[in-house]
């Protein structure tokens, strides 16, 4: 039998329907691969028994003609999604061994459609990070290595477990979340496809909250079609999340027509930042040429407030995080450190439970929301956000999608940026504006750096127009013809 972990979701679905292999066989292959990849540290909890029970159930449904759209497809789930009866920690000590008594809406929809859970995936603590080095379970290691160099590289973050597991074939796809680039940047660092839907497209209910006006769930996969398939199951209105939109979920796969003749693609000049590596400039130019050859019209556009997106984000996101994380008080769930009175208990619990980056952001958020600073920082940042959204709205009067690089560099070495928060934050320079404006964005692998590491291109779409975004991404994927794979050095 062929290696079942090499399949895409679309191929696996075909093979299962044709009876070429069973869901149990497909799941077992991924359980085996995941168990042999502990060096990558991408899974924080493996659930092989649950996976095989789910797969067995899928085989029954496949044989009696009641299979769902994701029947028997093994997925990894970011540890930010609450999973009933399976420990969920957001990779923070403060959640200790929290075991939800309920299921997040997004994962519930995946199981409804037949998907199988292999386990829970590592991420930066509370999704705060761009390298997956702030997790309580330690860093995730990128399956990719620079040519001729054994140094461990980061898989991007915060969804680094998701990106590494998909790149290393430890799941056919994974759930992820994106607050400032946490789906797209790790996808770019690992040669995978990462789709951040429009804010409100997927329910946030049951996902551990970081910054509620920015957080959005989406898939990481190995093809654009797979991203479309997963989004179809993840998206949809949910009465339990008032910010989820009550509009029909389109057939995203049907959007992959391969035809972008006449599509207007904007190239924002402000993304040509100082010090951008020549190979990323070149990749961007290649992307422009590919879309042009496919019949798209290239239009230069300006997003004048781009340079203010990152500093505005580092006010808004910590402010919302400081409010959201107030709930971790040692009373209702998670860690508790005893104290001499209730305040002492709160303070000791939170000091012991939060890691350095999370503490830093809570302190910044508390400061910018505190009396006397609220207008100067928080309101100012929300005004900048309005300007950034207006920039995009102006651009979308002229174009249908925007094309940019996903990240300013390929994957870097573990430990390279941990002592300098600001240099870490700069990783998200091309992805953060998209979250501030609530838009959908997708990263797909488009080439290799000089050291043989994957590089990503980002497409940004109009609000709730994931279909056009996916259509353009499908054409770009085809033209880029990215087939490189990391060597399997991690196998036990």
């Amino acid at each position: 039998m062929t290696d079942l972990t090499k399949l895409t979701i679309a191929d696996a679905r075909k093979g299962l329907a044709a009876g070429e292999f069973t869901a149990v066989e497909l799941t077992q292959a991924h359980v085996n691969a995941a168990e042999a990849a502990s060096k990558l540290n991408s899974y924080v909890t493996l659930t092989p028994e649950k996976a095989l029970a789910m797969a067995k159930h899928s085989d029954e449904k496949l044989s009696n003609g009641t299979a769902g759209p994701l029947e028997g497809i093994p997925l990894g789930i970011k540890d930010l999604f609450c999973t009933e009866g399976v420990r969920t920690t957001a990779c923070s000590n403060i959640l200790d061994d929290f075991t939800p008594t309920y299921e997040s809406t997004v994962t519930a929809q995946l199981w409804r459609d037949g998907a199988v859970m292999i386990g829970k995936l590592n991420n930066d603590e509370f999704a705060m990070g761009s390298s997956n080095e702030t997790s309580r379970f330690g860093p995730v290691i990128n399956p990719w290595k620079a040519s001729g160099d054994e140094a461990d590289l980061v898989p991007g973050g915060s969804s680094g477990g998701s990106s590494a597991a998909v790149a290393a074939h430890l799941a056919l796809g994974a759930t992820a979340t994106d607050t400032g680039g946490s789906i797209r940047q790790p996808a770019a660092f690992t040669g995978t496809v990462g789709l951040k839907p429009t804010y409100g497209r997927c329910s946030r209910w049951g996902i551990v909250a970081f910054a509620s006006s920015l957080d959005q769930a989406g898939p990481i996969t190995r093809s654009v079609r797979d991203a479309a398939i997963m989004l179809g199951s993840m998206a949809g209105h949910d009465v339990k999340d008032t910010t989820s939109v009550d509009i029909a979920v389109p057939d995203y796969e049907a959007a992959l027509t391969g035809d972008i003749r006449g599509l207007k693609v904007g190239i924002p000049k402000e993304y040509r930042v100082d010090g951008m590596p020549a190979e990323i400039e070149k990749l961007w130019t290649d992307g422009i040429d590919w879309l042009k050859s496919a019949g798209a019209e290239i239009v230069d556009v300006s997003l004048p407030h781009t340079k203010y997106a990152l500093p505005a984000y580092y006010i808004v996101a910590p402010a919302e995080a400081s409010s959201n994380l107030a709930r971790y008080d040692g009373v209702r769930y998670g860690l508790r450190v005893p104290g001499k009175d209730i305040t002492d208990m709160y303070e000791k619990t939170r000091a012991a439970g939060f890691g350095d980056e999370v503490r830093r952001r809570i302190l910044i958020g508390t400061y910018v929301l505190s009396a006397g600073y609220y207008d100067a920082y928080y309101i100012k940042a929300q005004k900048i956000r309005t300007l950034i959204a207006q920039d995009f709205a102006e651009a979308y009067k002229k174009v249908d999608v925007l094309l940019t690089p996903t990240a300013p560099s390929p994957a870097f070495a573990v430990g390279a940026k941990t002592d300098d928060p600001l240099s870490m934050y700069l990783n998200d320079v091309f992805t953060v504006p998209v979250n501030l404006a609530g838009l959908p964005g997708i990263s797909l692998p488009a080439g290799l750096s000089a050291e043989g590491l994957p590089l990503g291109l980002q497409l940004i779409g109009r609000t709730f127009d994931e279909e056009t975004l996916l259509r353009a991404a499908g054409v770009l994927e085809e033209a880029a013809g990215f087939t490189a794979e990391p060597s399997t050095w991690w196998r036990a």
Binding site: D96, S213, I315, E347, R360, K383, T386, A389
Partner: protein, 95 residues
């Protein structure tokens, strides 16, 4: 430096996170470097710009004010570090 050690002690207290005396100076430096960096937003003229309130235009949804879930005491307290008879327990708050 925009934030001194005294301010860090104050915001840590507001955030209910214990910090040691030794941590104050490095934290003041870290927080200040980030706040100094966001100061660049001052360059942008925003006097006549409305702050964003909702990233995607939508009307606030209303629902009937009815109990949808009840008798979940066991589920709600199951993950509590300390609970008794279906209640959360905390150190004495009222003297």
């Amino acid at each position: 430096m925009s934030v001194d050690e005294k301010t860090v002690r104050h915001i840590a207290r507001l955030a209910r996170i214990a910090v040691t005396e030794e941590e104050l100076a490095p934290l003041a430096k870290e927080v200040s470097s980030i706040l100094d960096w966001v100061e660049q937003l001052g360059e942008v003229e925003t006097d006549h710009v409305a702050p964003m309130t909702s990233v995607v235009e939508m009307e606030m949804k209303m629902r009937e004010d009815i109990v949808a879930h009840e008798n979940l005491q066991d589920q709600v307290t199951r993950n509590a570090p300390l609970s008794e008879d279906g209640f959360f327990t905390v150190p004495k708050v009222v003297e």
